[in-house]
Symmetry: C2
């Protein structure tokens, strides 16, 4: 049996190309069907609906680094080098849905995700090859586009185990992980119920937003009658790196974000801080090899920040804006020296600088795997951009990692004056499915 | 003097590479300052704020095909090969703004756009080099990113000439073009006032959304006190090609969209259908060499469409879904044969097929330059995706081109059952600025 506590093979894959290729090799079907350059834009995808095709792709990129596997010890989309774009969606199960419906849905989602991540169309017949008088199995807008490093990561909210009235709708209450509880209220929270919670989540990441949107749309279509979209979010410009092969991107405060993030190339740290271990929670051993996904929609008060001096911005962050180096000196990857003092013996990194409050050395060694994205949703009635950070983190133990960290930040961090948390969700992300299985079968089968 | 009726030089530039480069050559300052590969991700941009740098870039891509000029006979972003991403923004001038404020704003916007399109930072000092105790001139989130083929296109709404009460706020009423009037109500309209209108518009297109968002954000910041965001929209996956070097992309109905679009490589047609001519409107000769931008936010009833048969979908569109070929036969670029009949002598392309109703041969030869994008804004309370088409078109004469076409489509096109127009705007887009000048100086100087 595969060790569920080991990052899946692809995490350590040396080719960490993180940008869409000009003329990609992606999207080539596993059986080599239908490959060919179309219009110089992209590569045609396999258009036959052979379910076997996806299954031969087990655990391995089918055709180079722009395709990630769906099947494997872990779900892709966690330690996978962060793609450029996100479509995140939370779903609620319908009032009438049964446990059988839930299993059918997870099987159908897993099958469709296995195909779409390989650059193939969803469903038995895909977009074009089904009965002419029936709605197509796939909505078609990704035809001709490469797989674009699509990953689809599926998670389970607390409501799957006990609904808001405490009912055990699917006979799963006894398997609810201790740590899978709605997050507590944090001081800076102003959560909107319509952007919070959800029985299921889908995190679709790809280098092309059309590919990520196509994935969520088709999973939503497949769920029709069983589950419906509760809330969803598009993101761009990943705000953290999950591989040492990626440069650190900037968030909408203009600062490099995620410098100290956990990286796939440090499997021991990932194992310690991201993957749930077999003995973490005896009644939730089904989650071994999985993780917890925490999503937070964080609106930034962009206009206020933009009227703050460079000096103040750097003091708040605790890093310099140009290179991301700690204010104690060095370069981006130099460890911050929280003792270093400047004029008047004042610490170079202030007592409530973000970098200090969030640093593992100040938080009992807590580390998290961040995988967030920027967002911009238009503007409010006062002409302020509705933009910010769609924070996503993967942790082994929300109660020991995210909750104490966020409690401290939301209480002390000056940056909070420029932030408002408006959406929130927590989901248990099972280990990866094996061919013939489905995501969640360790819980439901 | 440059002939304003000629597409600017870059339109005919042979290198039509339309995808972000893996390791771009873009973002190199015009004076060769600060070029160097950073972290394998992108190229550093010039970080000095030398205003002369942008001006040496006049009318020419600075460093290859991933940088478009800001200055030139026409504004970039019209016949420029459509980039992958859009941030569109409409602004209202504040009640207190004067004509001098308007001129100052347009000068400042032009200066900032000239820099940002060349991969430089906005403002005299940029993001990092200003006084440490002052807010930075540039918000910084595009630092380290290439120019990403950014174009910034500025337009003037009817309200600039006469406000909604008919007042001539800026002494411009006598120069209002006859064709610059709020669009009439179309049968399928369900416009939201907060997504409609605007005194000014900015169309920022780039291959990287972070770069497009950065542009709109900084122009909005510069406008603070003079103008504020009224509405704005992010878009992805361009839905039309404006160059023969681009493959035709698919809209969210899954069909290739924009096959018959005007292309930059046909300058005679562009001249006839896009650019305003000197003698088109004697009292608006300032608009010669410019165009009209029409924006429509069109929500698609995705879920309903997805439950329609492939046969029905193709009948509604009049093209096949796989290749985009007309149902009368051939390939994508074969001219449709509206007389061709099939079984029972029924026309292969039905009487109300979209392709028939929209085709120039059925509309007195009317052609438009489409430059729209897909969008996805989350979902509604019923779990339906809030997604669709953000339609943008450039025309020489809205009254002869867009209005009759849209009147016919909104009345007869079966596709309208799957669409709802929720936002709308019309803007006069002046010719391009010359170095030392600004967009709109032919009207205001």
């Amino acid at each position: 049996m595969t060790d569920p506590n080991r990052p899946s093979d692809h995490a350590a894959q040396p080719d960490g190309v993180s940008r869409r290729r000009l003329f990609g090799l992606a999207g080539v079907g596993a059986l080599g069907v239908g490959a060919g350059v179309a219009g110089g834009l992209a590569v045609a995808r396999a258009t036959d609906g052979d379910a076997g095709a996806a299954q031969t792709a087990l655990g391995q990129p089918v055709a180079g680094p722009s395709v990630w596997p769906f099947y494997g010890a872990q779900q892709s989309g966690i330690v996978t080098p962060a793609q450029d774009r996100l479509h995140f969606a939370a779903f609620d199960l319908s009032a009438a849905a049964t446990r059988d419906d839930l299993v059918r849905l997870l099987k159908a989602w897993s099958d469709a995700a296995a195909k779409m991540t390989q650059g193939q169309e969803a469903g038995e017949f895909g977009a074009l090859s089904g009965p002419y008088d029936a709605p197509p199995d796939d909505t078609g807008e990704a035809l001709g586009l490469p797989a674009s490093r699509l990953t689809v990561t599926i998670g389970f909210g607390p409501g799957l185990f006990r609904d808001s009235a405490g009912r055990d709708r699917f006979g799963l209450a006894d398997s609810q992980p201790d740590h899978l509880q709605p997050l507590p209220h944090f001081p800076s929270d102003n959560l909107r119920p319509d952007l919070t919670g959800g029985d299921l989540c889908v995190q679709a990441c790809a280098d092309d937003p059309q590919v990520a949107v196509h994935a969520v749309r088709n999973l939503s279509r497949i769920a029709f009658g069983t589950a419906s979209l509760r809330w969803s979010q598009l993101g761009f410009g990943r705000t953290s790196s999950t591989s040492t092969s990626q440069a650190t991107p900037r968030n909408l405060f203009g600062f490099k974000d995620g410098t100290a993030n956990l990286k796939a190339e440090d499997p021991a740290a990932v194992d310690e801080h991201v993957w749930v271990h077999e003995d973490d929670d005896p009644k939730a051993s089904w989650l071994a090899g999985g993780s917890y996904l925490i999503a937070r929609k964080i609106k930034m008060h962009i206009e206020t920040w933009d009227r703050t001096s460079l000096s103040e911005q750097e003091q708040i962050v605790g890093r310099d804006k140009r290179d991301g180096a700690p204010l104690s000196g060095g370069d981006e990857f130099t460890l911050p020296d929280f003792e270093a003092a400047g004029r008047d013996d004042k610490p170079l990194i202030g007592p409530v600088a973000h970098i200090r409050l969030a640093h593992p050395s100040q938080n009992d060694g807590v580390r998290i795997l961040r995988r967030g994205y920027n967002f911009a949703d238009g503007n409010d009635e006062l002409g302020r951009l509705s933009a910010g950070l769609f924070f996503i983190a993967f942790v082994r133990d929300p109660d020991k990692q995210f909750i104490p960290l966020q409690t401290r930040l939301s209480r002390d961090d000056t940056m909070m004056e420029y932030l408002q948390h408006t959406g929130s969700g927590i989901f248990a992300v099972p280990r990866g499915a094996q061919p013939g299985g489905y995501v969640g079968d360790t819980l439901l089968a």
